[in-house]
Point group: C2
Chain length 152, copies 2
Amino acid sequence: MKPVAPVVMILAVACTFSATAAAQTPAERAIKYRQAALSTMGFHFFGILAPMAKGERPYDAQVAARSAKFVAELSEMPWHDGFPAGSDAGAPTKAKPEIWKDKAKFDKLAQAMQAEAAKLGQVAGTDLATMRTQVQATAKACTNCHDEFRAR
Amino acid sequence: MKPVAPVVMILAVACTFSATAAAQTPAERAIKYRQAALSTMGFHFFGILAPMAKGERPYDAQVAARSAKFVAELSEMPWHDGFPAGSDAGAPTKAKPEIWKDKAKFDKLAQAMQAEAAKLGQVAGTDLATMRTQVQATAKACTNCHDEFRAR
């Protein structure tokens, strides 16, 4: 067992990330994190699945299934680490202060979205009509939260 | 069946994203996407798991398992949509042109990282020593690709 070498190795890999992260406040890190996670989800949902549902892009079962799987996985990521107390400010953000004033309601709407996204992950590769119905249900769940908790 | 209303609904949700995405070239969209996905992965790997492995943060099996699950899921996301031909330029990027000159090697290293990340997702909640060993193996897989294909 050589405990030192591996730590040095990790440090070498982590140096770029750590230098950036160290320059950020915890609030700034959380804001950037939630924006990156939600943006990755948006790429697949609004950039691939919604255009397929709207007929602007040909339906491809394999592509739809992959993007929907990613959306389902990403839908779980923003909440625990992305919205800690105090992260209502610290970097540019559209998240409204109301999130932390009514966290129970925010969490409930976030969970409702996750449930719809999980279903989307299961059915998006079935056929266009099935995918479209679930894209609509998921989009509605996005809106339900954005209307109340995201600035325009 | 009312086909019009759902489409309008989706458009309403998608408008912010679409306005942003429409202003971007395909290369710019791909670059921003891969950076968002890899940054989300980095938050969990370098921001949570590596500090636990290094003893800078207390080991918490539940937190480690959650972050490692996310790392495993995120490790699959950047490749297909994030590195299309022509996305070597179009927005600031550290991705070297060598990626598209030797895509087979790049893909092989990306797959090797995914394999290590998948293992990490399975074992990170076991105990600190087990997690540390697999964090090191995953960090090595990151480095193997970054050394050759990412600018410093």
